[in-house]
């Protein structure tokens, strides 16, 4: 039945065949991987791109005058071009980092310490991942900024009335907010947030770690000032992430880490910095991982975001309907605009026990606070279980989850 609502033109069987790991068995059961929101699996195209880089085109980049180094540099910079067009940015605006977390820390340490003054305020929301909270707390400690938390509504959406209040005294210089919650699945209205912030003289940083996987992102159209994401959630390698920053902002920012490649010239008295993006990439970068990320972008582009979004919408609708139909299972987050992240609790059963008992059935979900401890408390909870969907997730897997949850209830005598 479920298969019938599959999108036309979206050949799920072929997509699944691209991911070697999906044919694994776990505890003797077929793997049902519903933890892509933590990190996605890698298609063969990504793995092959990395192998090819290491087997045929590898050397250190930028400073080599020989053939292999030129090829490796070409590949690395082509990856930057790929990311730039993926986000609709210029290549100078794309900085390679380790992950979304490092991207936000980079902004906090450079923009934060140069463009923000003690007493300026940074606003984040109640639904941030720790990656978009802790760096600002650390900046509060070291630099004396004020950190403000904008409320969310009970349905899991940004509370714009509260946002107005947070901005009322005119001291907010940066709004740092998730583009998609990794617990509630909520998409934030980013164009509106950009206009809102800019009208009030603040910059907008978007944490796109979740959003970028599910939707086409156009940083120009959004008018975002900073945008971060991680390669590993986008079917790309671990160890590589992206910071987009508007050119004039990056130009004005001091360096982050010091070392090779980020300098223009070095003397003991004074060193001068390279132009962006190189200013922010100290030392040997994640060369092979950048190549893998480029392959991941090609992969999702080939499927196409309209198809991906439709697929995930169908999965999410099905998941919400299916889980709601199980008595005692409570989905958290009811935003109007929400995506393939479904967190829930089960009456009388701790999320850890849910996850362990699902795992025994081959079903991988995550349980805990999902690196959003304050949000979990805001919801009045200690932890939730969470199923997240990727391009390879099927309707049958959602049905398997529902069946699995019923078995958990049986074990707990429900």
């Amino acid at each position: 039945m479920s298969a019938a609502i599959e999108q036309p033109g979206f050949d799920i069987a072929r997509i699944r065949a691209d991911f070697p790991i999906l044919s694994q068995s776990v505890h003797g059961r077929k793997l049902v991987f519903l933890d892509s929101g933590a990190s996605a699996q890698k298609p063969r195209a990504v793995i092959h791109a990395m192998v090819r880089s290491m087997e045929t085109r590898y050397a250190n980049v930028h400073r080599g005058l020989h053939w292999l180094s030129e090829r490796a540099s070409d590949d690395y910079e082509a990856a930057r071009d790929k990311v730039a067009s993926f986000l609709n940015a210029a290549r100078e605006e794309i900085v390679f980092v380790r992950n979304a977390t490092e991207g936000i820390n980079l902004v906090a340490a450079t923009f934060g310490r140069s463009a923000l003054r003690p007493g300026d305020a940074v606003v984040v929301s109640e639904m941030e991942h720790h990656a978009n909270l802790v760096p600002w707390q650390m900046l509060r400690e070291s630099h004396g900024i004020e950190l403000r938390i904008v409320k969310i509504t009970d349905s899991g959406e940004l509370d714009f009335a509260d946002l107005e209040r947070q901005f009322a005294d005119g001291r907010v210089r940066l709004l740092a907010i998730t583009h998609m919650s990794n617990v509630l699945g909520t998409y934030t209205p980013v164009e509106r947030l950009a206009a809102f912030a800019h009208e009030r003289g603040a910059r907008l940083l978007l944490d796109g770690a979740q959003a970028v996987v599910h939707r086409a992102v156009d940083v120009r159209a959004i008018d975002a000032d900073f945008y971060v994401f991680s390669g590993h959630k986008l079917y790309g390698p671990s160890g590589i992430g992206v910071l987009f920053g508007k050119r004039e902002l990056l130009d004005a920012m001091p360096p982050f880490l010091g070392g090779g490649d980020m300098i223009r010239s070095v003397s003991y008295e004074k060193s001068t910095w390279a132009e962006p993006p190189y200013r922010f990439e100290a030392g040997t970068p994640a060369i092979v991982e950048a190549v893998g990320l480029a392959a991941a972008i090609d992969y999702v582009n080939a499927i196409g975001f309209p198809a991906i979004a439709a697929h995930e919408r169908a999965l999410t609708d099905h998941a919400l309907a299916t889980l709601d139909a199980i008595g005692g299972v409570n989905v958290v987050g009811r935003a109007q605009d929400r995506g393939g992240v479904v967190a829930f609790t089960m009456d009388g059963v701790h999320a850890h026990d849910v996850a362990t008992l699902l795992d025994k059935q081959g079903i991988a979900v995550r349980a805990g606070h999902h690196c959003a401890e304050p949000l979990t408390r805001r919801l009045g909870l200690d932890s939730t279980a969470r199923a997240t969907f990727g391009v390879y997730t099927t309707m049958e897997e959602i049905d398997a989850l529902a069946a699995g949850l019923r078995r958990v209830q049986q074990v707990f005598g429900g």
Binding site: R29, V349, H350, A351, H352, D353, T356, L357, D359, K360, Q361, A367, G368, H369, E373, T376, D382, S383, R407, Q410, V411, F412, G413
Partner: protein
């Protein structure tokens, strides 16, 4: 893949009983030592209180917020250490942690009930759930000794 039994081997009857209706849960009016253990990664939290006399543990009470494994572990621990000399209880804590780490059940009478938790071994990420009460016990015992309390 029909019923629940085949997937629930970790969640044996004893564990489920104790998780649902622990025998030693609660907060006594009087106690000689207390300690908390928490695992911020998942929010599990155990608050232990115990009576001591003449270098031995009297009774143990726990307030546990957490998963079934954690609650059952706290409750079975309370059974197991009641009346034992401190040194023996500490030794048991070590033996329990070793059982969880290795999966091998110690061949000793005191583990006849505790063995129900040996299955946790297979779930490395759940080890902490089972051992948290024992960590809290160690902390409580250390404190008692420091203050000379109940000695």
């Amino acid at each position: 893949m029909s019923g629940a039994a085949d997937i629930g081997d970790l969640y044996q009857r004893l564990i489920m009983e104790r998780a649902r209706a622990p025998l030693h849960a609660g907060r006594p009016e009087r106690f000689d030592a207390e300690a908390e253990g928490d695992n911020p990664m998942c929010g599990d939290r155990v608050h232990l209180r115990l009576s001591c006399a003449a270098g031995a543990i009297g009774e143990v009470w726990h307030e546990t917020r957490g998963c079934a494994i954690c609650i059952a572990s706290a409750d079975l621990m309370a059974d197991a250490v009641a009346g034992r000399p401190r040194a023996a209880a500490e030794e048991m804590a070590g033996a329990f942690e070793a059982m969880v780490a290795s999966g091998a059940v110690p061949d000793r009478a005191e583990f006849s009930a505790l063995r129900a938790l040996s299955g946790v071994h297979e779930y490395r990420s759940r080890h902490r759930c089972a051992t948290l009460p024992w960590q809290a016990l160690r902390a409580a015992l250390t404190k008692t000794m420091e203050t000379g309390h109940g000695g």
